[in-house]
C-alpha cells in the first residue's frame, strides 16, 4: 500500500497565501503529503484549517503559492490553465458540498456533461445506477432531494473513471440518514473502481471509514492516523 511506485500525489512544503487587502490569509503553511493509489483518505479538521484549499490544489482548481505538488511524478505547479484543465478532465472527479449540478439539465444530462468529454467513461445510466438513482434519470435537480442531488453529483464525478475522487464535505448539507447513503456510495466507488478517494469532513465519525485520516489544523498537518480496519458506512455511529 505504501510502495512509492503506487504514489499518486506528492506534496512538499505546500503553502497557500490569500492576499486580502491589508492582511494575508495563510491557508496552508507548509504541507508535506503523499497519497497512494486506491486508498481512501479522510481530511479532518476544524473549519478554516485549510482542507478545501488543499483539496482544490490537489484537484488543479487552484495553485499553491509555494512548494511542490506532483501528480504521477509530474509537477502540477508549472501547469498552465490549459494543462490544468486537461488534468482535471482526464484524472479528477469532484464532489462538492452544494452538489453544483446544472439546474437546467436532468440527472442523466448532468452526468453526460462529463462523460461527453471523457475518454473511457461509464454510461450515464450506469453511473447513476451505481449511486442508486436508476429511476431518477430524467429528473431535474429541482425535482430531486438534497441526497439525491449529491448522488447525481457523485455519479457525475465518477462516470469518467477518474484516478482520484475528491469530495469536499459531501454530506455537509445533508441529514444523517442521507449522509450515510451518500458515504456508502463513495465507499462503494472506492472499492469497486479502485479510485483514490479524498473526503473532507469535520465529522470525526466518518474517519472510521478511511484507510488513513489526516488531521489538518491551522494550515498544517497535525497528525496522520492509519486505520487497520475500514468500517462500513452503515456501522458508523454518528
Amino acid at each position: 500500500m505504501t510502495d512509492p511506485r503506487d504514489r499518486v500525489f506528492l506534496a512538499r512544503g505546500l503553502t497557500k497565501i490569500y492576499p486580502m487587502g491589508e492582511i494575508e490569509v495563510r491557508a496552508l503553511r507548509g504541507v508535506d503529503l503523499d497519497l497512494f493509489a486506491g486508498e481512501f483518505v479522510v481530511l479532518l479538521g476544524p473549519s478554516g484549517s485549510g482542507k478545501s484549499t488543499l483539496l482544490n490544489i490537489l484537484g488543479g482548481l487552484d495553485s499553491p503559492s509555494s512548494g511542490a505538488m506532483q501528480y504521477g511524478g509530474r509537477d502540477l505547479g508549472v501547469y498552465d490553465d490549459a494543462e490544468l484543465t486537461r488534468y482535471r478532465r482526464e484524472h479528477v472527479g469532484f464532489v462538492f458540498q452544494f452538489y453544483n449540478l446544472i439546474p437546467s439539465l436532468t440527472a442523466r444530462e448532468n452526468v453526460a456533461l462529463v462523460t461527453e468529454i471523457a475518454r473511457n467513461p461509464l454510461a450515464p445510466e450506469e453511473a447513476l445506477t451505481l449511486v442508486g438513482l436508476a429511476d431518477r434519470l430524467d429528473h431535474f435537480p429541482a425535482q430531486l432531494s438534497g441526497g439525491e442531488q449529491q448522488r447525481v453529483a457523485i455519479a457525475r464525478a465518477v462516470a469518467k473513471r477518474p484516478e482520484v475522487l475528491l469530495c469536499d464535505e459531501p454530506t455537509g448539507a445533508l441529514d444523517v440518514q442521507t449522509g450515510i447513503r451518500v458515504l456508502a456510495v463513495i465507499d462503494r466507488v472506492n472499492r469497486e473502481l479502485g479510485t483514490t478517494t479524498v473526503v473532507i469532513t469535520h465529522n470525526a465519525a466518518i474517519a472510521a471509514m478511511a484507510d488513513r485520516v489526516i488531521h489538518l489544523s491551522n494550515g498544517l498537518i497535525a497528525r496522520i492516523d492509519h486505520n487497520t480496519q475500514r468500517q462500513a458506512p452503515d456501522d458508523i455511529v454518528w
Binding site: 484543465t85 482535471r88 452544494f98 437546467s104 439539465l105 444530462e109 456533461l113 462529463v114 461527453e116 468529454i117
Partner: protein, 787 residues
C-alpha cells in the same frame, strides 16, 4: 444533442422574454439598415442604369439662338462624344376642365431618328409623326394627373399662337426623373408638365429653323466636364449662352443626389444607434447570466471543460439571438425598403426599379451585429474566466451596499425602507443604471427625431410663404421683358398689386469658392416679396451691393462687407465686383438679391423684368387665369396656395412613413431596455423579494421595490432624452442642409410630450409584464436553494 446544447436551449427558453426583447432591437436596427441601404442601392442603381441606357447627357447649356452649324464645332471639342441640339420653350397649357394655369415645357426630339442623348422611355403610344406639327408626347406624371390618354387634346400657346396639340404618347426621360417647375420646391404634376414635339415642328413654331436654343453634350469622360463647359461657354456667348453646366446643376439630377445624401445619413445614423442599444442589452444580459452562472462555470471547469468550450457555449446563446434578429431584420428591412423605394418612385419617375437585396448589405448587417454581440459577450466572459475554478465556485461575494448620497446628506428621514432599497440598488451599479438611463433616453430621442419635422415644416411654410413670399400669384416671362408689361398686368381683372423682379443667372465667386445661382433684382419697399434677417425681421434693400441667402453666404464663406465677384451668365456676360451688404434668412432655395435699379446698372442694360408677383382678388381668379393664358409672353404661373398645398402633401407622404417607423422602433428600444432591466432585477433580487414576502410584505409592496427603481430611471431618462432627441434632430437638420432647403431646428412642445408618452407607455408595458412574473414568485423554491 449534447448536454451543453440542451442547457443552452432550456436557458434560452427560460429567458425567452428577454431574448425576444433583444432580438426586436436587433430586428429594428437591421431593418433600418437594410431598408435605407436597399433603397439607396435600388435608387442609385436604377438611376445609373437609366442614365446609361437612356444616354443622360453630361453637360447642358441653354442659349438664345445659334445656327445649327455650331453643332459641328461643339462636337469637335476635346472630350465631347455626342451632341444633341434642341429647341426648348416654356409654354402655357390648357387642359379642358382644369381652370388653373398650367406651366409646360416643350422639348424637341429628332424627327426621324432616336435621340443621341436624353432618350425617351415611351410608356404608351408612339412618337410624333415627322410631318405633323400638332402631335406631342407628354410626361407620364402629367398625363396621370389629368387622366390623359393618347388622342387627348391640349391647348397650348406656342410663340403667341394658340394651337391644339394631340397627345400621341406618354414618356419618361432621364432628364426629368424629378419634375419640378423652375422656381418650385415640390412637384406638382397637375400644374407642370413636360411635352416633347418633333424638332422640325418646334423649329418652325419658334423661328428656329436651322437653329437651336438648347444643347446637351455627352462626354467621353466625365472628368472632361470643366474644360468642355469653359469651351462651350466661349462658343455660345456670342449666341446668348446662359452658361453651360454639368449634371450637378441639372435640376433633376441635383435633387436626386440631395435626396440620396439624406438617405445615406439616415442609413448610417439610425442603425448605429440601434446597434449600440443591442450591444448594450446583450452585454447587460450576458453579464448577468454569466454572473449568476459563475458557479456553474466553475463546476464545468472543475470537470475539465476548457475556457474555449465554455465561451462557445455562451456565444452560441448570443449567436442564436443575433442570427434570428438579423434574419428577421433583413426580411423586414427588405419589405420596408421596397415600400420606401416605391414611395420614392412617386417623386422620382423611373421606367423600372432595380430593387434587389445586395449580399454585401446583408453581410454588413450580420457582421456588424455579430461583432458587437461577440465583443459584448467576450467582455462579460472575461471576468468569469479570470477566476480560478475554486474561486468561481464560491458564491459571488454578497453585494456591497452603502448609504446613498441622499442618505449621507442627512435626508434619510424622508425615505422609507423600500425607497432606501431602491436608491441603494441604483447607486450600487451606477454604470449600469447610467447605461439604462442613456438607452431609455435614446428611445425618447428617436421618437422625437421621427416626429419633430412636422412642426418644423409648418414653421418653414409660415416663414417662406407668409412672411417672405406673400404674393397670390407669380408669373414668369419667357424672356426679359420691358417695363410696359406691368401695365398690361395691372389692367387684368382682379389684380390688386403688381411687383416685378429681374432674375439673372450668375456665377458668384469669393476666394476659391464659387456657386451658380440666380441674382434677383427687386424694387425696394416691396410688400409681396420681402427679405428677412436672421431674426425674421424685415430687411431694407440697400441701393448698392448684394444680399445673399444666409446658406449661400456660408457656402461662399462671405460675410457682410466682403467683395464678391459676380459673373453674369447671359447677355454680354459682364463680370463685376460687388460688396455683400448682408445675409437673408431663407429656408428654401438660395439666391442673391439686389435693388432692381442697381442690378440694371450692373448689367448696363435698360430696365427689363423677368416676372412679377401679383396680389389678386379671389373673386376674379378664374377670369384672371383665363386672361393670363392668353398672354404669350407669360411662360408660367404659380399659385402660392397651391405651392403650400404641394409642400404639405409631399411632406405628409414621406413624413408619415418615417414617423410611424421611428415610433415603432423607439417603443422597441424603450421596451427592450426597460423590460430587460426589470427581468434582470427580478432574477438578481428574487430571493430578497421572496424573503420580504415571507416577512409579510404584500405583492404590491415588493413590486414597488422592484419597479420603483425602473420608474425612477425612466423619469430621469425622459428629460435626458429630450436633450438626446435635440442632439439627433440637430444631426439630422445639419446633415440635410442643402441649397434646396434648410430645415430649422424647431421642436414643438407636442413633440416632447409625444416622446415622453411613448417612453412611459413602454415602461408601463414592461412593468406590467414583470409584475405578472413577480406575482407568481415561488417563495419556497427561491428559498430552498442556495443563492
Amino acid at each position: 444533442m449534447k448536454p451543453l446544447d440542451r442547457k443552452l436551449w432550456r436557458e434560452l427558453w427560460q429567458m425567452k422574454g428577454q431574448a425576444v426583447a433583444i432580438m426586436l432591437v436587433i430586428v429594428c436596427g437591421v431593418a433600418i439598415h437594410v431598408m435605407f441601404g436597399a433603397t439607396l442601392d435600388a435608387l442609385g442603381q436604377t438611376r445609373a442604369r437609366y442614365y446609361q441606357e437612356y444616354r443622360f447627357a453630361d453637360v447642358f447649356a441653354a442659349l438664345k439662338r445659334a445656327p445649327e452649324s455650331l453643332r459641328e464645332r461643339i462636337a469637335a471639342l476635346p472630350g465631347v462624344a455626342e451632341v444633341e441640339t434642341r429647341v426648348v420653350a416654356a409654354v402655357h397649357l390648357d387642359v379642358a376642365g382644369f381652370a388653373e394655369p398650367i406651366t409646360g415645357r416643350l422639348v424637341s426630339i429628332p424627327d426621324n431618328r432616336e435621340s443621341r442623348l436624353n432618350r425617351l422611355y415611351l410608356r404608351q403610344g408612339r412618337p410624333p409623326a415627322a410631318d405633323r406639327d400638332d402631335e406631342a408626347i407628354v410626361s407620364e406624371a402629367f398625363a396621370e394627373a389629368h387622366r390623359l390618354e393618347p388622342g387627348a387634346k391640349l391647348r397650348v400657346v406656342i410663340n403667341g399662337r394658340r394651337q391644339t396639340l394631340t397627345i400621341v404618347g406618354m414618356a419618361l426621360s432621364p432628364e426629368y426623373i424629378h419634375q419640378l417647375r423652375p422656381g418650385s420646391m415640390f412637384p406638382d404634376y397637375q400644374r407642370y408638365g413636360v411635352l416633347w414635339m418633333g424638332r422640325r415642328a418646334l423649329g418652325v413654331a419658334y423661328g428656329m429653323e436651322g437653329a437651336f436654343n438648347d444643347v446637351v453634350v455627352g462626354l467621353t469622360d466625365a472628368r472632361a466636364a470643366p474644360d468642355v463647359i469653359d469651351e462651350l461657354d466661349r462658343l455660345l456667348t456670342p449666341y446668348g449662352g446662359l452658361g453651360a453646366h454639368d449634371r450637378e446643376d441639372q435640376p433633376s439630377h441635383r435633387f436626386l443626389s440631395e435626396e440620396f445624401r439624406n438617405i445615406t445619413l439616415s442609413a448610417t445614423l439610425f442603425p448605429v444607434l440601434f446597434l449600440g442599444v443591442a450591444v448594450f442589452l446583450l452585454n447587460v444580459v450576458m453579464n448577468r447570466l454569466i454572473g449568476m452562472q459563475r458557479e456553474q462555470i466553475g463546476t464545468l471547469k472543475a470537470f475539465g471543460y476548457g475556457n474555449g468550450a465554455i465561451a462557445l457555449h455562451y456565444l452560441k446563446l448570443v449567436l442564436i439571438v443575433v442570427l434570428i434578429g438579423v434574419a428577421v431584420g433583413v426580411f423586414a428591412g427588405a419589405g420596408l425598403g421596397r415600400r420606401l423605394a416605391e414611395l420614392y418612385t412617386m417623386f422620382f419617375r423611373f421606367p423600372f426599379l432595380d430593387y434587389r437585396l445586395s449580399p454585401s448589405l446583408v453581410l454588413g448587417a450580420l457582421l456588424l451585429n455579430l461583432g458587437g454581440a461577440v465583443a459584448g459577450t467576450a467582455f462579460a466572459l472575461r471576468a468569469a474566466f479570470a477566476l480560478r475554478p475554486a474561486e468561481a465556485m464560491r458564491p459571488e461575494p454578497p453585494a456591497r451596499y452603502r448609504a446613498t448620497v441622499v442618505e449621507r446628506l442627512g435626508l434619510q428621514r424622508l425615505l422609507s425602507q423600500p425607497n432606501r432599497m431602491i436608491l441603494r440598488h441604483i447607486e450600487r451599479r451606477p454604470l449600469k443604471s447610467l447605461f439604462a438611463v442613456l438607452g431609455i433616453a435614446l428611445a425618447c430621442g428617436v421618437t422625437m427625431a421621427g416626429r419633430f419635422q412636422e412642426a418644423t415644416i409648418t414653421h418653414m411654410v409660415e416663414v417662406h410663404y407668409k412672411l417672405s413670399q406673400r404674393e397670390d400669384l407669380a408669373v414668369t416671362f419667357t424672356e426679359p421683358t420691358s417695363w410696359r408689361a406691368i401695365g398690361s398686368l395691372d389692367g387684368l381683372p382682379g389684380v390688386e398689386r403688381v411687383e416685378v423682379y429681374r432674375a439673372v443667372p450668375v456665377r458668384l465667386r469669393f476666394q476659391h469658392h464659387s456657386r451658380r445661382t440666380t441674382l434677383k433684382g427687386v424694387p425696394p419697399g416691396g410688400d409681396l416679396q420681402r427679405l428677412l434677417d436672421a431674426d425674421l425681421r424685415l430687411l431694407d434693400l440697400p441701393s448698392e451691393g448684394v444680399l445673399l441667402t444666409d446658406y449661400l453666404g456660408e457656402l461662399l464663406g462671405v460675410q457682410a462687407g466682403d467683395r464678391l465677384t459676380v459673373e453674369v451668365l447671359e447677355g454680354s456676360r459682364p463680370v463685376r465686383e460687388v460688396p455683400v451688404v448682408g445675409l437673408v434668412k431663407e429656408y428654401l432655395g438660395v439666391a442673391a438679391y439686389m435693388d432692381l435699379a442697381g442690378l440694371n446698372r450692373l448689367l448696363r442694360e435698360g430696365p427689363a423684368i423677368s416676372g412679377a408677383y401679383l396680389a389678386v382678388d379671389d373673386r376674379e381668379r378664374s377670369e384672371l387665369y383665363r386672361r393670363l393664358g392668353d398672354i404669350p409672353r407669360i411662360a408660367g404661373t404659380a399659385i402660392r396656395e397651391q405651392e403650400i398645398r404641394n409642400f404639405h402633401r409631399t411632406m405628409e407622404q414621406t413624413m408619415l412613413f418615417f414617423t410611424f417607423i421611428a415610433t415603432v422602433f423607439a417603443v422597441v428600444i424603450a421596451f427592450g431596455i426597460i423590460y430587460n432591466s426589470a427581468r434582470i432585477a427580478l432574477t438578481e433580487r428574487g430571493r430578497e423579494l421572496a424573503s420580504l414576502r415571507v416577512l409579510g410584505f404584500t405583492r404590491a409592496e415588493i413590486s414597488y421595490i422592484l419597479l420603483g427603481e425602473l420608474g425612477l430611471l425612466t423619469l430621469v431618462a425622459i428629460p435626458l432624452g429630450f436633450i438626446v432627441g435635440r442632439g439627433i434632430c440637430t444631426l439630422f437638420v445639419d446633415g440635410a442642409r442643402s441649397e434646396l432647403y434648410r430645415i430649422p431646428l424647431i421642436i414643438h412642445p407636442s413633440t416632447y410630450a409625444f416622446a415622453a408618452t411613448v417612453v412611459l407607455a413602454s415602461a408601463l408595458l414592461s412593468g406590467w409584464l414583470v409584475r405578472r412574473k413577480l406575482d407568481r414568485l415561488d417563495l419556497i423554491a427561491v428559498l430552498k436553494t442556495r443563492d
